[in-house]
Homo-oligomer: 352 residues x 4
């Protein structure tokens, strides 16, 4: 095991060799308070992680085991589950029972209603967890996260949409009950694996919609926006694939009911996010760009009112592996462990 | 001058070394009936084109001169104007007077109303041309193009939107009067030139909105959709930049008023475009992908109804330099000269 | 079957849905004299090709069958084998026996010595073919190809190296017996298939050597260079992967023995390739660029002498799927059928 | 000015808005001991850096001034010069005179011989600096750097070559006096600026040699390799451009004189770099990949002997902006200020 300083937070990563697992390693490798003491990998169990990934320095290495072994006697403070949905649900209870806090990056604890989960993902393995989990979007639920032992890390698309619409959900000047959300994601969002349609020659120089009207993140958006609005919200959602590894931009359209200017809209957002370290309202005329958030935990936001056509346009951008997944998971860990949100997450984006 | 076979169509290209000029060369180099006999280039006047672009075979080469020289005594049947707006307008009358037909790839002849032009582009240099020009979208105006001597080649974004919405504009089951158009363009759409924001390191791995609510293609879309609808149409338009050289996808949202299924919608499109060689309705579940239209003159179309939220979604994709510019210009030439639309344009896309 | 004009060359493609098969379709779709009348595909047998690839127009479509069915009664003039090595060897004899000419794009007929083949590829399925095949590099063996019924289409790396060194092999001013060849290939060279290491997220923004000292194209280079030199040649070969779909550049280093200037070297190449339609000596100071040969059948060549260190540097660039594979195969078909090399191959590169 | 903690190292960055300046900001923003207290920018003087780059948090911001203003009364411990060569030379003496230590990222202090400098770069503005500067490659000159007040940060290409060959320069089994160096660089190496040849559409999907036999990094390599060898070394150097923003791979060829195996070669490198935190010998069969060093300060190394042809092949890879420029500059700062090399540089690469 890694040499762990006293007072360090000891963490486990289930699913080390997927992209969100690898991103957790990257972020935690420079975290001043947390260390990784073990991880699971189906393919590499029995090796140390620096043998699998030569870019991890030996000093930061840790052993890889199977999920089953890792669950046997988990000596740690907190576990990150970077596993596929379905698989995640089966690991949570043993970890909670062993006294660990859990941040689940899968979809398994995000939906409150077991029937909605079943409709979009199939039967839930441990539905009692749904009421125990806190939805881990710190900008909305920071207080609840601070005392939770199980946090459901949000989906990447929902993060762009909820952060994008939260300041508007109760503003009567716009109609947020049926937003049109046109989202674009980098290819790492499809996960790590050998698939023809995400191969370099097929996806490179490509851009296309996918999963039109049918993406599984829809119920998650509708649940959270509905809670913010205090009424039912239907999201019209079209995801697209961008030929970049990382990055996500959502362009969100809501009708204007009563006159509101771009400046007034900007004020709303500036107020709402003034104290949020990871939500930045861009200067007027600047728009979210995947290249400017790569590797950072920032969500960039722009807003415009098209006064000619009575439409409010909200644009949000983030790195789907960082603020859209593992960065937010570390932020949740920080909050759960009583640290500042920004601990270990202060890195600026890698640009160019 | 190139050795011109009898019966060949002799063409001139004004603005050879921009991307649409270069694409005209590529397409015409294998056209069975047309030859390029001269071209203009500010920077390379006095050289032959194969000296500037070594990938052009000597047998297909032609001399480069200034615009002024090329206008002096234009010995040709048809001229393509691949010049910036404003500059184009000044060249048209001398060419028409010399008996040439003209396909203008700039915006200078697209708008019918001089005042609308002035508002978006500044004062027009030769406003009488506006009523003389035919809007060169063959799928809508093929008959008028056939007898025109001046054709205004459509903008790339408008082509995706007009082809995307034409079958719906008079269908009472959907409301096409205020469509939301979320478009994404490859970087060649920004033209050829040295700019920091389209440099590889700034634009690569990037994706972002630009010109939100303010893009100059809006009045062109509204003019043409309005004519198809027989009423005023307001377009809510947000363009984005994709990190690919070529390609454009528009995702278009219109509310459903009366129940219509995806299959019924597909039938509408299949009927409308059955005989169009360059509009392809993709199989159900397939969506336009820039990688599959690169270098071809195809516009790919998909349609879906989101019955859960009463929304029709139209997705169109094309190569902005081909069907979105120079390929369409050659198609217009074909029609103006009495040839089949497909002459010289049968090439399939370069994939991968 | 496709409606075949009289006098057309009827072709078959074995292995339609790999990248070289797809590139054959692209090139033949605008060939004025050849048509594809059938093809094989393991996964799509029973469908027509335009159902599998919507970007192929119905008018150019053809049925897909299994290899076995296609071999039963092959009604065609020429077959292209775009199959993996090993698989190809088993198809050749039935085709030759049925009177077809064959262009084999695999490695199965490239090596003259059965033992060398066995060492690098394993036992050969039909070694008698080796002496019957002509090595299909038209710039070296055009006459023999013209009368051959079996042509072994060269490997992509060997094409860059043999075309790059042919003018020097008998020049005593340089030592070509042990060239250092540093080659870089686009990712389509790895074939079409779902592999983690050629996925967008793993290969994008990447560049790396692979197969160092061990690539299977080494014996092919050594055989052909040795024949040109009249003595044994050992090639020191290091391939690398470039994050582009198409394109290949080889940088080749040979020691200078007796003083020779860059201009003298250029003259050698200009003389050697003066009448070759698909080999272009670039202007002095210009170097091969994958972006300038994409989709064309051109091989671009530059040469420099580093007089300070007595080294000759030859740089060659081509599209690995076109001049490096399917374009050369069509060029070979043209020669075998008595057509000009350039028939159907005049297209300039797709740039940008 | 930024709120500076006691005991912090106060730094200045000359040339903030180029890529190496921006990379310095990224690296120093998470450095536990250093802060940036000011910077120069021709275009943005008078603004604060977070106004120019919204991705820099306000807490890490600092004022931008002209070079002249910054030189007037430089209140800091150390200055990084991320200026073009020529411009850098003029700033050094005032900084040294004011008691600052200086890390110069330009080429102005790298060459020891004024005449060699003049031949490749033109006349030197302050040639006396040449003997005062220490060549800042920590793996070679760590001790001298520790006591230097002026460090010449190495060029990116020379870093790959010197680290690649250092273990061999005195080994009689190989001949390192005339290595062939085939290098490939990401496009950020060309600097930040609007140039047609590095625009996305021109450089994307491209790969090409440039500056063949004439690159300015040649004398730097020859100087340093010559010192290591104790004799004159001539480098045969061909750089190429890879279509990635960051990353560099050099493939280096040296003849084997006396039998040596790959394993023996590996042992040499393992011994030489055992204690170097930023040089990693990759596992056997793994090769440097730009994608695996992006954003990290690592130099990855592989070695192979081609026993068939008596050639040793050394492959090195790094991020040209990090270990190839700003990361190494921070490493030099650490050494000059008595900190561990790794302070603030422990981040793993951004992958994917």
């Amino acid at each position: 095991m890694t040499n762990v300083e006293e007072h360090s937070i000891r963490t486990l990563i289930f699913g080390v060799t997927g992209y969100t697992g690898m991103e957790l390693i990257r972020l935690l490798s420079t975290h001043p308070r947390a260390v990784i003491v073990g991880g699971s990998s189906r393919n590499w169990a029995g090796q140390r992680v620096d043998e699998v990934f030569p870019f991890i320095p030996a000093a930061k290495s840790f052993p890889l085991t199977t999920i089953e072994e890792l669950l046997l006697d988990p000596q740690a403070d907190l576990a990150f589950l970077a596993l596929p949905h379905g698989e995640s649900a089966g690991c949570i209870r043993p970890l909670l029972d062993a006294g660990l806090k859990v941040v689940d990056l899968s979809a398994d604890c995000r939906l409150e209603d077991e029937h909605v989960y079943a409709k979009w993902y199939g039967p839930h393995k441990d539905p009692d967890l749904l009421s125990r989990a806190v939805y881990g979007l710190p900008e909305i639920y920071r207080e609840a996260i601070a005392t939770a032992d199980l946090v459901a890390n949000p989906g990447c698309y929902p993060t762009t949409v909820i952060l994008g619409l939260a300041p508007l959900m109760n503003d009567e000047r716009v109609d947020c009950t049926r937003p049109i959300v046109d989202s674009k994601s980098g290819i790492s969002g499809a996960g790590r694996g050998a698939k023809l349609n995400t191969s370099f020659c097929e996806a490179g120089e490509g851009f296309k919609p996918y999963g039109v009207t049918r993406h599984r993140h829809i119920p998650e958006m509708e649940q959270e926006l509905g809670k913010l609005a205090g009424q039912t919200v239907k999201v019209r959602f079209t995801p697209h694939l961008i030929p970049v590894s990382r990055g996500m931009v959502s362009t969100i359209y809501v009708p204007v009911r009563k006159k509101i200017s771009t400046d007034e809209l900007r004020d709303l957002y500036a107020d709402r996010y003034r104290n949020e370290p990871f939500v930045t309202l861009l200067p007027k005329g600047a728009y979210p760009d995947t290249a400017r958030v790569r590797g950072s935990n920032q969500c960039h936001v722009s807003v415009e009112v098209d006064e000619r056509t009575d439409l409010a346009i909200v644009m949000t951008g983030l790195d789907n592996l960082t603020k859209g997944a593992s960065g937010c998971a570390v932020q949740n860990m920080n909050i759960m462990m009583g640290l500042a949100d920004t601990e270990g997450l202060a890195g600026t984006s890698l640009f160019p």
